[in-house]
């Protein structure tokens, strides 16, 4: 176990080099966030006071996008998938076949270190914006809701990582994985609730989506926090999320073992 703590330490140090990059990223990220919040305000303004869109009030809608930004800062893979794919292509993984370190957990530690560092830097502007928008920021109904939200965020982080890891494994078979990663990312961007709460979609579409891993990559924790997913739906959601985490983990393992058989150790 100690060796993995070392990996996290190294990961934090490496990531600290890019602290200004992280800050720039968060600050630029606020531009579309502000735009979309203003856009929704305009839509709500046309509907008169105490209007709601698919049970979302204006305050809840504003909080939704803030929470998406926060959960995203906590869980999104930064450059982990590119790095893993590059490691495979350049033959850097050869050393892990010899060392008593599991590559998957090695990368997971680096991912955690990356998220930790990113969050530390990003929390400064995030807190400032939350304070600025405090009139529109809703708190969770009770501490249980917050606890469930935290569990769901943890599962989201694992799901995000395992899915990215599996996608990066494609590098064993194809030269350029970035196109595949981008296609998946495009779907995830809309189907996980990045652009808008999934509740505003027609019910049929929501039903279909609930059978894909996408809503569990972002929408579920935010929906739980805002009290939009409760009772049976909440328990079902968390179970499905856990199921997808296990499935993604197994896929990651399988892809690795199949890939290793084909691996030619280029350059290494």
């Amino acid at each position: 176990m100690r060796k993995y703590w070392q990996v996290i330490g190294i990961g934090v140090q490496n990531n600290l080099t890019y602290r200004f990059n992280f800050l720039a990223r968060t600050l630029f990220g606020f531009i579309p966030l502000t735009a979309i919040v203003l856009l929704w305000r305009n839509i709500y303004a046309g509907k008169g006071s105490d209007a709601s869109v698919a049970t979302f009030t204006l305050a809840q809608m504003t909080s939704y996008y803030l929470l998406v930004t926060i959960v995203d800062a906590l869980t999104a893979v930064n450059e982990d998938d590119w790095q893993i794919a590059a490691d495979i292509k350049d033959g850097n993984i050869s050393q892990f076949l010899l060392k008593p370190v599991d590559y998957l957990w090695f990368r997971f530690c680096l991912y955690l270190a990356g998220r930790g560092t990113y969050l530390t830097v990003a929390s400064i502007p995030l807190v400032l914006v939350t304070i600025y928008l405090r009139d529109y920021f809703v708190l969770p109904a009770d501490s249980t809701t917050f606890g469930l939200f935290a569990i769901s965020v943890l599962l989201t982080a694992m799901l995000q990582f395992f899915v990215s890891y599996t996608m990066a494994m494609l590098a064993f078979w194809v030269m350029e994985v970035s196109t595949f990663i981008f296609i998946l990312y495009a779907f995830e961007y809309i189907a996980s609730g990045h652009m808008f709460p999934l509740a505003i979609l027609p019910p049929v579409v929501q039903d279909v989506l609930s059978y894909t891993p996408f809503p569990y990559q972002l929408y579920l924790p935010v929906g739980i926090y805002l009290g939009k997913i409760t009772g049976v739906a909440l328990i079902k959601g968390l179970l499905a999320q856990a199921g997808w985490v296990v499935a993604a983990f197994l896929m990651a393992r399988l892809a690795w073992f199949r890939g290793i058989k084909k691996y030619a150790a280029a350059g290494g």
């Binding site: 720039a24 531009i31 735009a35 839509i43 509907k47 698919a54 196109t179």
Partner: protein
């Protein structure tokens, strides 16, 4: 003296032969890019799929929004679809000519290839900005055009003859604004070397370009993205021209901002070049 390069002969440096020379160079760069793309055909096609998916996503977002409202500002659904189409059209043409080159600038500085480019007897900015052509961009611009035509039919728009050249001129100005802004941001890489965060940031600016302008209240946000980084003008003004809701003020504003951006980017570029210290040699 046949050893002397032609360009240094004072008889040869008049404008027409200069233009012809640069055109010749640009044709050669095009040929290179075509060869490069044909080497990775599968990848080329997949990237077109990626861009199509993003475009479909934007349109999907608009249709979902309009499930819950009739108007955003003064814009109706099909007007916004037209706007998204115009924005995609401009963005893709910008991408075809300039994006890779701007994004690669920091890499050229980091690995010292900039030295080599500066030594060539050609304007360095010309070479750095136009080295590669992304042919997929033209295909994607075609899909944007198809969406614009479809939205135009839904809106029962009638095109008058002066509209077409006017629209194309505005698109050119828009591409110029995007290029100047992006090039200025990329020039900052001479100082920070790792400018990917800034390049990534530019993608966020594109997001604003496709939003209807009067959805935003008068305030800091709108002022900044109209007068400092004029991305909000780039596709809104031509979309307003097509839907016949253009004021001459915004037309002049677009042109004025384009000139301002061009001057600013040239100034930043020259400052950056002065600051350049060769890497790795």
């Amino acid at each position: 003296m046949s050893l002397k390069p032609e360009a240094q002969n004072p008889m040869e440096t008049n404008t027409t032969s200069g233009v012809r020379r640069y055109l010749g160079i640009y044709v050669a760069l095009w040929k290179n890019s075509v060869t490069r793309e044909t080497m990775f055909k599968g990848n080329f096609l997949l990237w077109i799929v990626v861009e199509l998916a993003w475009f479909a996503l934007q349109l999907g977002f608009i249709s979902v929004l309009y499930l819950h409202t009739e108007h955003i500002g003064t814009w109706t659904k099909w007007q916004v679809v037209l706007l998204v189409g115009v924005s995609h059209f401009i963005q893709q043409l910008f991408q075809a000519f300039f994006l890779i080159n701007c994004a690669n600038l920091s890499e050229l500085v980091r690995n010292g290839k900039m030295d080599f480019l500066m030594m060539l007897p050609v304007n360095t900015r010309f070479l750095v900005s136009l080295r590669q052509v992304d042919l997929g961009g033209f295909v994607n611009a075609g899909s944007a055009l198809a969406v614009m035509i479809y939205a135009g039919r839904e809106l029962h728009l009638t095109l008058t003859l002066p509209m077409v050249p006017g629209f194309l001129a505005m698109c050119l100005i828009g591409i110029c604004i995007h290029y100047c802004l992006m090039f200025s941001l990329a020039s900052v890489s001479f100082w920070t070397v790792k400018a990917q965060g800034i390049v990534y940031g530019y993608y966020n600016l594109f997001n604003i370009a496709r939003m209807p302008d009067d959805a935003f209240p008068r305030g800091v946000f709108k002022t900044v993205f109209t007068f400092v980084l004029p991305v909000m003008l780039v596709s809104n003004v031509p979309a307003r021209l097509l839907t016949d809701r253009l004021t001459s003020n915004s037309c002049f504003l677009l042109m004025g901002m384009a000139i301002a951006c061009a001057l600013l980017s040239e100034w930043i570029w020259r400052m950056s070049l002065k600051h350049y210290t060769s890497a790795s040699s």
